[in-house]
């Protein structure tokens, strides 16, 4: 079998055809102002079980979101995956109907940056692989992982994926954006069980723009080491601990509270910050947080957002002070700044971060310079991964209560924690940071060093 995942005979989205069609229908329906975001993906994923193919999935998907302005400057949208001429016409009629309910006082406009030159992002499209090749790679990875330790009996959740995506933005003012990218990813989630002990599990994930450079061996190594380290576990006492967040865990926590930096959430009253918070000290003075969609390690980067605004790197927190927010066109207009390239596309436009980068401000001191994940002798909890973020975070209140995977570390000896949750208030956590390590790590969701926080509540089962 030699089935490539791409169909060479099938072209996906064509911006010229789409523009022509939209012009024709907008003229027929007397719509003077419109824009459209389109996306397309073509991907394949394989799963294996004990060396055999379990399920293989493929998909070819296209969708567009049309946005129109009516004569009263009310905005309406409709999304559709029916990309026939009839489907697109139907969507435009739907958007016109929806516009009658648009809030004329808060209508979005075209981004003033929708025609600005884009940053060059390396978007070399990788060669696709056959299903046999993907299955073979994943089966070998599964076997290698199981062979690393006698207690590892299976890799119940696994997958190797190859995707090709493209995104288009077009508006009636002549803006046209079009970008393609490719992505490969692997995830391995293994289970181990020893006699008279509970089953334990751990996982790893890697993403790259092409399969050849996907670091599968480090994913196997990380998953295996984590899982083996969790085999001997114990319950811990409920009390306040010194905590060290791994880069992954700290990024998870900051991402969960990214509404602090989100101008849309601030306007809607859903953020811990308000319109006057710029310039306020929100953390210890050696913490920097930026959003860097253009960072070369951000594999899934697109060079423009849903409104066609170029993707930009934005310093959010500098030396602990809130400096900037993430904006769409509408929120930027309200705050008197320029859009930052973090918008979706809608009648009410959403805003979200791309790629968070946490760093230490070199000019500021840590409260406890002695701490280091390599050789600290104090007792502390190393939090590796947070769970249930969708249910355990109250972003508008700042509170969180989250289960986690991690270890209790005493005089350098790591012991897995049976089950525990960490609870607190994000603003208090940011002001209780006692050490930000110098070394940053690239993860699949951003970049961060290890971050130490004192006096954090942990609930154990002892």
């Amino acid at each position: 079998m030699n089935n490539s995942i791409t169909n060479k005979n099938r072209l996906v989205l064509d911006p010229v055809v789409l523009t022509g069609l939209l012009k024709r229908y907008s003229n027929q329906l007397e719509i003077k102002k419109w824009d459209m975001g389109a996306s397309s993906s073509n991907d394949i994923s394989v799963q294996v079980q004990q060396g055999n193919a379990k399920q293989i999935k493929g998909s070819q998907r296209n969708s567009i979101t049309l946005r129109v302005w009516n004569k009263n400057n009310q905005v309406g949208i409709t999304s559709t995956s029916d990309l026939t001429s009839e489907g697109i016409n139907k969507a435009m009629i739907g958007a016109i109907k929806a516009s009658l309910y648009g809030n004329a006082n808060e209508s979005p406009e075209f981004s003033p940056l929708a025609k600005k030159e884009l940053e060059q992002i390396n978007s070399e499209i990788s060669e696709s692989h056959t299903i046999d090749e993907l299955l073979s790679i994943l089966s070998i990875a599964e076997k290698q992982l199981i062979d690393t330790h006698q207690s590892i009996d299976s890799v119940p959740y696994n997958g190797l994926n190859e995707s090709y995506m493209e995104r288009i933005y077009i508006n009636s003012d002549g803006a046209t954006r079009h970008m393609k990218l490719s992505q490969s990813s692997i995830y391995l989630y293994a289970k181990a069980e020893e006699e008279n002990k509970k089953p334990r599990s751990a996982g790893g994930i890697r993403i790259n723009s092409n399969l050849e450079e996907l670091d599968i061996q480090s994913c196997i190594k990380e998953t295996s080491e984590k899982l083996i380290s969790h085999l001997n576990y114990k319950a811990i006492e409920t009390k306040k601990y010194l905590i060290c967040f791994t880069p992954e865990a700290f990024l998870q926590l900051i991402s969960a509270f990214s509404s602090m930096f989100n101008a849309r959430s601030i306007i809607d009253g859903l953020s811990l910050m308000n319109e006057d918070s710029i310039g306020n000290q929100i953390s210890v003075s050696n913490l920097n947080i930026s959003d860097e969609g253009l960072h070369p390690e951000n594999i899934g980067a697109f060079s423009f957002d849903g409104e066609g605004t170029p993707t930009q790197n934005i310093k959010l927190v500098s030396k602990g002070i809130l400096r900037n927010l993430l904006h769409s066109e509408a929120t930027a207009r309200r705050f008197g700044v320029k859009p930052t390239g973090h918008a979706g596309l809608g009648a009410k436009v959403s805003v979200s971060p791309d790629w968070l980068v946490i760093s230490k401000s070199e000019s500021e001191m840590d409260k406890d310079e002695s701490l280091s994940v390599i050789d600290t002798q104090k007792e502390y909890i190393l939090i590796d991964e947070l769970s249930a973020i969708h249910s355990g975070v109250k972003a508008s209140q700042g509170s969180f209560s989250l289960p986690f995977d991690g270890w209790i570390v005493n005089t350098g000896k790591k012991t897995s924690i049976e089950a525990a949750t960490v609870a607190g208030d994000i603003l208090k956590v940011l002001k209780s940071i006692v050490k930000i390590e110098n070394k940053q790590f690239v993860t699949h969701q951003g970049i961060s060093p290890h971050v130490w926080v004192e006096n954090v509540s942990i609930t154990g089962e002892a």
């Binding site: 079998m1 089935n3 169909n7 099938r10 996906v12 055809v17 789409l18 079980q49 379990k54 399920q55 293989i56 999935k57 493929g58 998909s59 070819q60 998907r61 296209n62 969708s63 949208i77 409709t78 999304s79 559709t80 995956s81 029916d82 990309l83 026939t84 001429s85 009839e86 697109i88 969507a91 739907g94 109907k97 929806a98 648009g102 809030n103 119940p156 959740y157 289970k191 089953p199 599990s201 409920t238 009253g269 859903l270 809608g346 009410k348 769970s387 249930a388 249910s391 355990g392 109250k394 508008s396 209140q397 209560s401 989250l402 289960p403 089950a419 949750t421 609870a423 509540s457 609930t459």
Partner: protein
């Protein structure tokens, strides 16, 4: 006939009418798949017409209609399967998808001459009396008026409700399922949800509260929404939690309220009874049929039949009528939830539980309306039986790990002291492991009620109902501060 943007020159085969007339085209695809050597080929066709609306304070802030078409083609060979989804419903698009699915299993169309496909049965049309559902659902005028009525009602409750939001979502789906074993079925599904949420703020204190209601197959759902009752309930919760202190962490007995309290059973146990979990070897109940896995007070079912319940369906996404599946009877495990692939790989008979979010997912065994059956106690008797513990009146979301460990947050909680409800508390999380907690559900009250929710898993997000009467868990870890 219209032109596909994606296939400019080829023959088109756009399925804009889902009925018996599709039979020849579908049979051609199924026949090609079978003649290539597949054990079974299944085609799922879908059209969708959805709307979501949002009102914030006194304005409609978002109206988002979305339309969709798509197909999912699944091919089985032995215990393996290949699945391809596409929204290119042109003939070349579907043929490409079929060939790709066959190719995943090493099969090629035209390579074998034996056509073992005997054709589709007559269309089993579960949607014949539902054709007017979409037209009978509230239009944008009616829906927006209702939402603004809701936010206004909240404004009248208390001036400290600084954020008032009401949302409405209508999901309409028309599907055809056809398989080379002859299954040929059509259905129309209509799901509607309304949600309201608020942020109350007084000085430096803030509380958030939310409620969601949902039904299936009831076009009048939004029209019949008792806004005043919902707004009063939500405001009462927000005001009580405004000055709530944080709960102190520890092990304690817990009384869980009815309705959405059932999320504990859904997360802690229900997922582990899906054959999807058995296939992976991650369910601790794999070898537990006819064994005691829960306290004898616990009997639980999963069914897709209750009128208007959010998880009800006339047929599952593999064309099978849903069953009333008794999962646990007096603490003894009786049955697993199974789909086509689950039966193939584990031997557990199908239960009409093959479900998927849409055409882009292969069906998997999933819950429908899942609940613990009611017992003989009153809710007050449960609370009276606790000296020091927690009453969980309203639950937030939760999740279950791959080996059965679960957690979920308590949205509105109260301490129980000496058998009586005491002060409100926030920040509580219930943590445990299914195998350990089920034997500790020692009392079930007589007030079973259901609540709508969305469940995310291997085949996407599906509509479900969770439910239970008030129940008492003798001891559970409560995360707090």
């Amino acid at each position: 006939m219209t032109n596909s943007l994606l296939t400019k020159t080829n023959e088109n085969l756009l399925f804009h009418t889902f009925d018996e007339t599709l039979k020849p085209q579908i049979e051609e695809l199924l026949s090609l798949g079978r003649s290539a050597g597949a054990d079974l080929v299944e085609i799922f066709l879908e059209k969708s017409d959805n709307i979501s609306l949002l009102a914030e304070q006194d304005d409609i802030s978002n109206v988002s209609p979305s339309l969709g078409i798509g197909a999912g083609i699944r091919v089985f060979l032995g215990k393996k399967d290949g699945f391809v989804s596409t929204n290119d419903l042109s003939k070349p698009g579907l043929l490409f998808a079929l060939n790709q699915a066959l190719g995943m299993l090493g099969l090629v169309t035209g390579s074998k001459n034996i056509d073992k496909f005997e054709g589709l049965l007559d269309l089993n049309d579960f949607g014949s009396n539902k054709n007017n559902w979409l037209d009978h659902s509230p239009d944008l005028d009616e829906s927006t008026v209702k939402l603004l009525e809701a936010t206004k009602s909240l404004a009248n409750k208390n001036s400290n409700l600084q954020v008032r939001r009401a949302s409405y979502s209508r999901s309409w789906q028309e599907v055809i399922v056809a398989a080379s074993d002859g299954v040929f079925a059509r259905d129309i599904r209509l799901h509607q949800t309304v949600g309201i949420n608020v942020i109350a703020q007084q000085d430096k204190n803030r509380s958030t509260s939310a409620r969601r209601y949902g039904t299936s197959g009831n076009p009048d759902d939004l029209r019949n929404w008792n806004i005043e009752k919902s707004a009063s309930d939500l405001n009462e919760s927000a005001q009580k939690m405004l000055y709530a202190g944080y709960v102190e962490a520890g092990q304690m007995p817990v009384v869980l309220a009815n309705k959405f309290g059932g999320v504990i059973f859904h997360e802690a146990c229900g997922h582990l009874l899906e054959t999807t979990q058995l296939e992976r070897g991650t369910s601790p109940f794999n070898e537990s049929i006819n064994k005691q896995i829960a306290h004898k007070a616990v009997s639980a079912v999963d069914e897709g039949l209750s009128n208007y319940a959010f998880g009800s369906l006339s047929m599952d996404d593999e064309g099978m009528e849903p069953q009333n599946t008794v999962l646990i009877e007096n603490g003894i495990l009786k049955k697993f939830l199974s789909d086509r692939a689950g039966f193939l790989r584990t031997g557990h008979p199908r239960t009409g539980s093959g479900r998927r979010q849409n055409f882009s997912f292969a069906a998997a065994s999933r819950m429908r309306n899942t609940y613990i059956k009611q017992g003989d106690y009153t809710p007050e008797e449960l609370i009276r039986s606790v000296d020091n513990g927690l009453y969980c009146k309203s639950m937030g979301g939760g999740s279950v790990g791959p080996t059965g460990q679960f957690n979920f947050s308590v949205e509105e909680g109260y301490l129980i002291k000496n058998g009586k409800l005491d002060s409100p508390v926030k920040g509580a999380t219930l943590i445990g492991e299914a195998k350990e907690i089920l034997p500790r559900i020692s009392m079930c009250a007589n007030d079973l009620d259901l609540a709508a929710g969305f469940c995310g898993s291997v085949s996407g997000s599906v509509n479900v109902t969770v439910g239970q009467p008030h129940i008492k868990v003798d001891s559970i870890t409560v995360g707090g501060r």
